[in-house]
Symmetry: C2
Amino acid sequence: VNDRPVWFKAEVLQRTGSFKVRGALNFVGALDGAVRARGVVAYSSGNHAQGVAAAAAHHGIPATIVMPEDAPVIKLANTRAHGATVVTYDRATGDRVALAEDIARQSGATVIPPFDHPLTIAGQGTLGLEVGEDLAAAGVDASVVVVPASGGGLTAGIVLSAEAPGPEFEVVTAEPASHDDHRRSFESGERVALDDPAASICDALLQATPGELTFAINRDRVAYGVVATEPEVLAAMRWAFEKLKLVVEPGGAVGLAALLAGRIPGTGPVTIVLSGGNVDPSVMASALA
Amino acid sequence: VNDRPVWFKAEVLQRTGSFKVRGALNFVGALDGAVRARGVVAYSSGNHAQGVAAAAAHHGIPATIVMPEDAPVIKLANTRAHGATVVTYDRATGDRVALAEDIARQSGATVIPPFDHPLTIAGQGTLGLEVGEDLAAAGVDASVVVVPASGGGLTAGIVLSAEAPGPEFEVVTAEPASHDDHRRSFESGERVALDDPAASICDALLQATPGELTFAINRDRVAYGVVATEPEVLAAMRWAFEKLKLVVEPGGAVGLAALLAGRIPGTGPVTIVLSGGNVDPSVMASALA
């Protein structure tokens, strides 16, 4: 692509169709047995939801997931298919964190945070370790690694994994142009909170500000942030369909979109994290139109 | 799927987006250097075309491919992208074999047969060896293996590979209901040639009769043949989109379609060969509609 070697980390092929199951399994697995038995609660637009639901099913414990009522149908259905109870809320008026904490208080269940926790971050970081192993096996000793960012948990896991021996990573965050809080935060050196951002097709990347812990980790370790527009994201989904034969959801394609749009400077190897593939057929159909 | 373990051999992720590059590389690689230097010719609806074009590019030799003018746009474009010269013909009135042989005679190039040759079959058989290794690694000692069939070359390679030490295969061919020449031929014990079969969305599986050599190999080694209807194929493409996050072309999805339709009896492990993923966006959009 663009005359440079490009590697893809296809988390669309991961269990639950996104990287989120990594952090969820790590967190749920680390709970004390008696605590874990009381179940888990999470709030999520859909991929963390499926990850926590799958982790709970793996351990045979109950899970309740708070999800926006307009989450992709496939994400709602898959979360329920793992046996989780789904509680929906109105994205505009509801407070999902309060809802989840209330459920946890009443049931004794544990809230599994989507990004801003060391155990979640460490789980996501296993992706970075695998990228390092794969690049080393291919004889690549340095690569730009482009990571879709919302709360910044995957990015934080990857920048920390890069401190292990192995190929050198230059980590770049990718965001929808409407939700460029990481880019702005890196530029200002402080966490920027977007005020009433526009709607985005990237339903997995709608956080308006980086996490507190994740930003503390990422601020000095991420090289820079890039963005992609909505048409660029749709074009990247179509490109992945045609060239890779992979189904990538909008939020999972934002790094590829930035690369195809020429926003990753340099000529050396690039690793694109395709972070998720849970997209409704109607959305993919519009990308293919 | 259907309460039984199912394995997928995702040839959509293979170079050129289908298994065909295996046979093409094996055949072109086996040519005498001086003969190979004069180039290669092939006739194909599109996947063998890409396979031969890629094999020729790998060896730095010219390739001319005879393709139907109504082949999928993606297959025509990808074949040209490998540097091959594409000659189109009218599927209803043209004789693609004569066209290819004529080009070969004039240029000194070698015709690379799509299925009915030992070197082609041996190349496709590497897929069966990999399936055997993967099943063995997973501790599976026997599996039904469902293979999309057109000329029968992939099936022949797989049944022969099954004679190597390793897991036991029960090989089943899958075809579009309109092009069930393998099923009929297995039932009658002789090669059946369909007379003016109906159109099919499975552009890669339009052969009206099994190959001579492939049928001699397959007749006593294939367990039975199954078919899938057009709506079943579209449903399977959608299922692969939703559950596997893989793009599968109609002909590549026919085995999955038969499985989902309940036509693979038994309760043990099933291996589904997803033989290709070169589908035009408009066709996938209609599968997703």
